[in-house]
Amino acid sequence: MTEFTPGTSEERLVNMGPQHPSTHGVLRVALRLDGEKVLGADPDIGYLHSSMEKIAEKLEYRQYVSYSDRFDYLNAMGNEFCYVRAVERLLGVEVTPRCEHIRVIMAELNRIASHLLYFGAISLDTGATTPFLHTFRERELCLDLFEWASGQRLLYHYFRIGGLRNDLPDGWADKLYQVLDLLPQRFEEYDDLLTRNRIFVGRTRDVGAVSADQALSYGLTGPSLRACGVPYDLRKLDGYSIYPELEFEVCVEQGGDCYSRHLVRTRELRESVKLIRQALDKLPEGEVNVPLPRKLKPEPGEVYERVESPRGEVACYLVSDGSEKPWRMHWRGPSFYNLSALDLMCTGHWMADVVAIIASTDIVLADVDR
């Protein structure tokens, strides 16, 4: 924890957070300032630490699915995806094609919902209220679809080991097609409101820039890394699940600054719509669950399963000792490493830029602390 120490007359330490609307959760940043210039930013995390890794050692494999929702709560479907894939690989289980398609549809729809929340949050943080209201209107459509399929609006517990909680309800796909028709028009509206707005561009361009080498050394992933010109997208690279059968583009920008990160996300929104439409078009008929024994006892061994979340590479490292409970479970939270580069991004910029930088890294503090 950074303590207040009297510096020179020009240098002072200012606390941003822990309770601050722009820190996206409970984050304290100790800012070392010279006037309005940032000399250093020291994030103080751990306020939301909830021992997710220790809890896993006390629970059976099936019981943990609902916990995996709860760290990156804006990407609950994506985390479940990662966790159930890890356990299925440990057990050597193959899920049905219909299940794989529905999983990808859900994960991509969740990516849209998460990016829409990011869009609203960065607009609020840079001083525009209107785009926030617009993106939340469309995010609501996604959440309604999730609620219809899983019964929940934020923490779904929809993916199960070996399948899904239930098949899609009747009429769900038609409603999703309607939403997919609407969303691209709305994305254009957002770009008019925010992405091409002079004030927004002025607040974010050339702010918080990192080079590709720095980003790779800090372990940045997701839009933060792709904004530096590194085409690292696990959906393309690993080609897990049904992604190799779908056509989409890896969105890469060159600047490495807040505006490039923003552009990557605005383009990814459109790519996700394309992905969902393709997966929905070829959604096969059939069962969504494969029968599994009541007690899951994987062979001793370990897996490291990684998937692409809206924030980057989320990965589950699972070590089994052959019993009903994991011996050790470790989560690689993308926000954890993305936030660790905050000092690098903020140093040398103005104090007001810190807010834009935190918003552009799109962190979820529960994912940082786990």
Partner: protein
Amino acid sequence: MPEEIRLETTPEELPEFIQALREKELAEQHGFCDATAVEREDTLEIVYRFSLIARPVQVSVHTQVPKAKPVVPTLTHLYKGLLWAEREMAEMFGITFTDHPDPRHLLLPDDWQGYPLRKDYVYPLDHPYLAPDPLHEDPMKALCPPGQVGDENQ
């Protein structure tokens, strides 16, 4: 499914091993991915992971340190992502990373005792953060102790 390359080394040779790796398996563009520890019988296993960018290849480096005296040289001069990863391992497993530039607690409070992710960890129920809250036991008694507020009216 990414190709996984599993390598093992000793804690003493770790920095040289990673340096040598950067001329062989990690010669092309790669990123630091993750680092964590796993408790084994009488050692702690530290796992460093790196991902290649152009190909689906993942390199993991495993090293075993004795549970009684877990000391490893820091690698923060090679990969900045380890600044936080090593701090987390240090407080959760009690591993000492020699020459770490910033050896403070990361997630846990500064005065936290014990290493929570070790198997023999006992929850310190007498710690103020975990002790039963008198407010939950008897709110009236906790908020209005006898002889203070409102007593003159009784």
